[in-house]
């Protein structure tokens, strides 16, 4: 073993393909639209946000369609990322040491694969929340309701629609909280953003946060050295 540190630029490890990144960023844009437009109708103090889109009427039109885009994007992303997000024993070990995660002392955490348990939780919570948002969103969307009624004969009562409003709002708040965690984590954990921008991370990022994944990538010859 050579104890001397290798010099030169860090090795780069590919993490997301081009299509995965496009999928992600379409969702991201849709999400931001949903977030801003949704909040503008959620609380009067935020109604000013509707101005970004050209006013409340535009928001009323845009928000459901952005939701449709987001939901379809998520469906593709779900299929794409499902294998890497299957739960495993390590996830529970990782979670048991969550205090080291929060304090950023990764050296005390078990080696994880492509996704740690926190990332998997984001994935699975979205997998649960997106359908809830879609169903409740349809019940609040006049053209959506018309479509359901004319195509499937499904009719929502006024109480269904009222319930949908509450569910949609609650689910949206949860989604936003998770989204904040997701974005914060990407910013806090330096070197993460480049995975979704350049498609690759440095080897050191992989070594620090996803060592098992890095080893697998190296073993599979996906990492070019030098």
């Amino acid at each position: 073993m050579n104890d001397k540190a290798p010099s030169g630029a860090p090795v780069r490890v590919p993490r997301y393909s081009g299509s995965a990144r496009i999928n992600h960023w379409i969702m991201a844009i849709a999400f931001v639209i949903l977030l801003l437009s949704g909040l503008s109708l959620f609380h009067p103090a935020l109604f000013f946000l509707s101005g970004i889109f050209g006013g409340g009427a535009m928001v009323r039109w845009l928000h459901p369609w952005a939701g449709v885009v987001f939901a379809l994007g998520f469906l593709m992303l779900f299929i794409r990322f499902l294998p890497a997000n299957l739960p495993e024993l390590t996830d529970f070990k990782w979670l048991a040491k969550i205090r080291y995660v929060v304090s950023g002392r990764d050296e005390f955490l078990p080696e994880v694969g492509k996704y740690n348990a926190g990332q998997k939780l984001v994935f699975w919570s979205q997998a649960a929340l997106v359908p809830i948002m879609v169903v409740s969103g349809f019940a609040l969307w006049t053209p959506g309701l018309d479509f359901l009624q004319s195509t499937f004969g499904i009719k929502a009562t006024m109480d269904h629609r009222r319930l949908a409003a509450v569910v949609h709002a609650a689910a949206a708040v949860t989604t936003i909280v998770i989204w904040i965690v997701h974005v914060y984590a990407a910013i806090w954990v330096r070197g993460t953003l480049s995975a979704m921008i350049r498609g690759s991370v440095t080897g050191g990022w992989g070594w620090r946060h996803h060592r098992r994944w890095l080893k697998r990538e190296v073993a599979d010859g996906h990492v070019k050295s030098g």
């Binding site: 009323r60 080897g203 050191g204």
Partner: protein
């Protein structure tokens, strides 16, 4: 329908700033004595004419109710119910003029997310301001009487304005003016309550011991009130709500919900910021990079 000035408004939808310091004007009210109504639909016709609205010619579904429901153009509708009174054995044909009740505590206004799209004037009329309406349909969910209808054509919500435009020039609502039997009366709420008292007295002498006024407390009273022969059973009249109030779901959504949601989101963001300040970024060290490089360069 903006015929009132800002200072005539006591409540406005989706507005966090303090309402203008308007005092209550004379409260107006429409009183509909169902026992004097002959179901002629003159009110419906007058409403269409005055507001210059037209409905497509529909079909007959085996009843006299036409159109079959309230629509963005039909702001008032006669609803017919054939009821066999189990006590007397007699048939009663109960005919009710449906339309906006102009609640003292309007659910539509509570639910509306568009600032100023729904207002309550100092005289208590609840009115839709179509310039500000965004067509989201939240008012439909807020209403305990199932009244507002959003147009599929211009995506604005519509309902009875209590002819606020006619009132502004000293006229009574078109329906009240057209009513041939004075079943629809219009005046101040005080006058109408007194009138109702009289009409209920007449009904009681005619043998309707349960006659009474429909001015539901669940919405703090309404500015369209009914005199009913069977005030103990409002639902007989084409499903008039027995005890209407703004749905608890709507209260949860547009009451505590909007504050709680904002608090949760804000708290999460604050925690993140605090965490960052305390912990700083989670950085990859040079050592990590070296370890990775060593791993990568290790012979296969």
């Amino acid at each position: 329908m903006t015929t009132f000035q800002p200072l005539d408004i006591v409540r406005t939808s989706a507005t966090v700033t303090t309402a203008p310091p308007a005092g209550r004007d004379v409260e107006v009210a429409k009183l509909i004595d169902v026992s004097k109504c002959i179901g002629c639909k003159a009110c419906q016709s007058a409403c269409l004419e005055w507001n210059d609205l037209r409905e497509p010619v529909g079909t007959n579904l085996g009843v006299y109710d036409n159109p079959h429901d309230l629509t963005p153009n039909t702001w008032t509708l006669m609803r017919f119910t054939e009821w066999e009174n189990p006590q007397s054995g007699n048939l009663e044909w109960l005919i009710r003029k449906d339309g906006c009740m102009h609640c003292e505590d309007p659910g539509c206004l509570k639910a509306c997310p568009a600032p100023g799209a729904i207002v309550q004037y100092a005289n208590c009329i609840v009115d839709f301001q179509h310039d500000a309406c965004i067509g989201c349909g939240y008012c439909e969910k807020g209403c305990p009487f199932n009244i507002p209808r959003v147009s599929r054509i211009d995506n604005k919500a519509y309902k009875c304005s209590l002819c606020s435009d006619r009132l502004a020039i000293g006229q009574q609502p078109a329906c009240a003016k057209a009513c041939p039997t004075h079943a629809i009366m219009f005046g101040t709420k005080t006058e109408m309550l007194a009138q109702a008292e009289k009409n209920i007295g007449v009904l009681k002498t005619r043998g309707y011991s349960k006659a009474g006024l429909y001015n539901p407390p669940g919405v703090s009273g309404t500015h369209v009130m009914y005199v009913l022969h069977h005030a103990d059973q409002p639902q007989l009249y084409a499903g008039l709500a027995d005890n209407p109030s703004i749905s608890p779901l709507v209260e949860a959504w547009k009451g505590i919900g909007k504050y709680a949601g904002m608090a949760v989101i804000g708290a999460t963001a604050l925690i993140g910021a605090f965490h960052y300040l305390v912990r700083g970024p989670n950085k990859v060290s040079a050592h990590d990079e070296d370890e990775a490089k060593r791993l990568a360069e290790a012979p296969k």
